[in-house]
Symmetry: C2
Subunit: 361 residues, 2 copies
Amino acid sequence: MATIKEIAERANVSIATVSNTVSGKRPVSTPLKDRILAAIRELDYHPNHVARSLKVKQTNMLGMVIPDITNPFYPEVMRGAEDASRERKYLLVTANTDERMEREQNVVSVLRSHRVDGLLIAAAPGRGTMDHLQNAAKTGTPVVFLDRATPGIGLDSVTIDNVKGAQDCVRHLIRFGHKDIAIITGSLKLEIGRERLKGYQVALKEAGLKVRRSLILEGDFREESGYRLAKEILLRQHRPTALFVCNGVMTLGALQALDEIGVRCPQDVALATFDDLPYGRAFHPRLTCVAQPTYELGYKGATLLIDRIEGKLSGGPVELQLTSEMRIRESTTGRDGDRHHFYGDKSARKNDGGVKKSSRN
Amino acid sequence: MATIKEIAERANVSIATVSNTVSGKRPVSTPLKDRILAAIRELDYHPNHVARSLKVKQTNMLGMVIPDITNPFYPEVMRGAEDASRERKYLLVTANTDERMEREQNVVSVLRSHRVDGLLIAAAPGRGTMDHLQNAAKTGTPVVFLDRATPGIGLDSVTIDNVKGAQDCVRHLIRFGHKDIAIITGSLKLEIGRERLKGYQVALKEAGLKVRRSLILEGDFREESGYRLAKEILLRQHRPTALFVCNGVMTLGALQALDEIGVRCPQDVALATFDDLPYGRAFHPRLTCVAQPTYELGYKGATLLIDRIEGKLSGGPVELQLTSEMRIRESTTGRDGDRHHFYGDKSARKNDGGVKKSSRN
DNA sequence: TTGTACGCGTTATCAG
DNA sequence: CTGATAACGCGTACAA
């Protein structure tokens, strides 16, 4: 592959001049520039970003680590992050951890070796082992938590208000007269799992309903647990009249369970869930849910990270919190609230989505 | 961030010795090794892969370019590619092109600047403009086409048998007595789009049915076109009794259209589609489809690419072709063929899936 | 405006 | 087995 030196020779100039025309940092006279541009085209020259990175100590790469790309929640987040990265001239490198802490540590290590300029993390559930991330931050690789944050760790994050989201959902169920509301939670090792459970509890209490342990089932945010736990609870003698599931993929499992045991929704049991699955429009019944601003989560996360990398943030950790949005559909009401507005939804994608910024120093 | 030099100083050895203990290329005595390992731990040393890449002229990065990560077909492909990459110690960098050739060219250029060792491409529809890929291959960056190949370009590829897949699907519809079968094709600018259309035509002809132009609608593999074209054809005076849609996301659009105009499936119209959507289990009716081995497509593509990079392939272009699998469900039969085997499916994920290898030199 | 020389952190070669 | 040193391709003083 052609080097800057070869371009210089072919154009009869010094390498400095080639560098200057490519980067545009210093002006170059038109005749030289033309010769150089021609040489670049003829030799199909692509500046060696590796050498450049070594020299300027900056790779213009961002590392994104997520639990599982096949969870439909993440591709949208990635799109947001990628768009923001591209706008700011960064390349996004994504890696899956399979929800395993061991893999996360390994992936972060690899990414650090590759000298990514910063890390975007949707954490895997782990027993408080955040050393690999704190070390990275300490040695100059900024870290931004995405969606799943660890409180009090002193790092930037962008999350959503999980307590409120869950609370909204459960309130809605209560308003429709439900008293026996079961919850399938996510992993309670994750703050996000605990927060959603809390929203459920708060909503029940404020309505004067009591929180019954038997109606709280701990899942792990994966499809199989939704399937297994829904089956378990719906086969009980005394079946709850409503079910609140704490993320989208567990809901897919739950729907499967409903189907197999012949329980109808919403006639036999109402269903509300966290996450609006991107292809949920094709489901019957359509699901009442609290939708997260996934695209923005990624977009804002990457923007925050790059601002941090480029020293545009002076103070302590920035904790962005986005708000979720309740979408009421037939899985709780029997009527479909928005079936005729699907394509309209898409335009809202890049919207701001209501940001609360709380920065503490 | 700590450098090899700092480790050497702290351990009182030369940098060469540090390099040797890290890489394991040359033996190092135990006492020295222990001191070095200790220093590495204390300083949280991560070898600078950028400097290494510059020296060894190999980044251990693979570039993957796909049209749209939010198309559920691709995340599985990515997983396969990522798993293969990890096993062979490569880092996978993925970028979206939004189905736009201009973006694809840009992305490939960026990836080449970053000196990825090879490129995995699911091409965007373009007017025969493959120069950016041929240039890459010519200057030492191997390219393998994934899923969407350009025939006769002289590059490696891994695809599936699209003609047969479409043929199987349409044959199945014919067997169920359908004579008026409409097709929503993908972009006919893409070989893959033309192949699927061909399978449809062949199946009709072999059954003695005639191919009617009015039943062929050209989409673009995106959801909106499925919606629009399904709506158009189902509102005609003489409505076809069956519809064959050429990929998963267009089917989502079509389902939406059915719903809006109150046409029931399969009672009013039978539906068969390319791609088994990962969350199709939650649909009603469940869809008859020809499923592609997505995970393997990625896995085998990355493996092929790495073999090429490492010089393990001597001859000319390798063209791997995987076989797809017909899955008959209620959208064509009214009965659900496999509703009780969903979780069993997953174990088949890493299977070989029937490979035909055709290498021409 | 243009050219020269040095260093970024590694690996590889060669001498001890 | 261990150590010194020359590249790798580029950016950037500094000199012209």
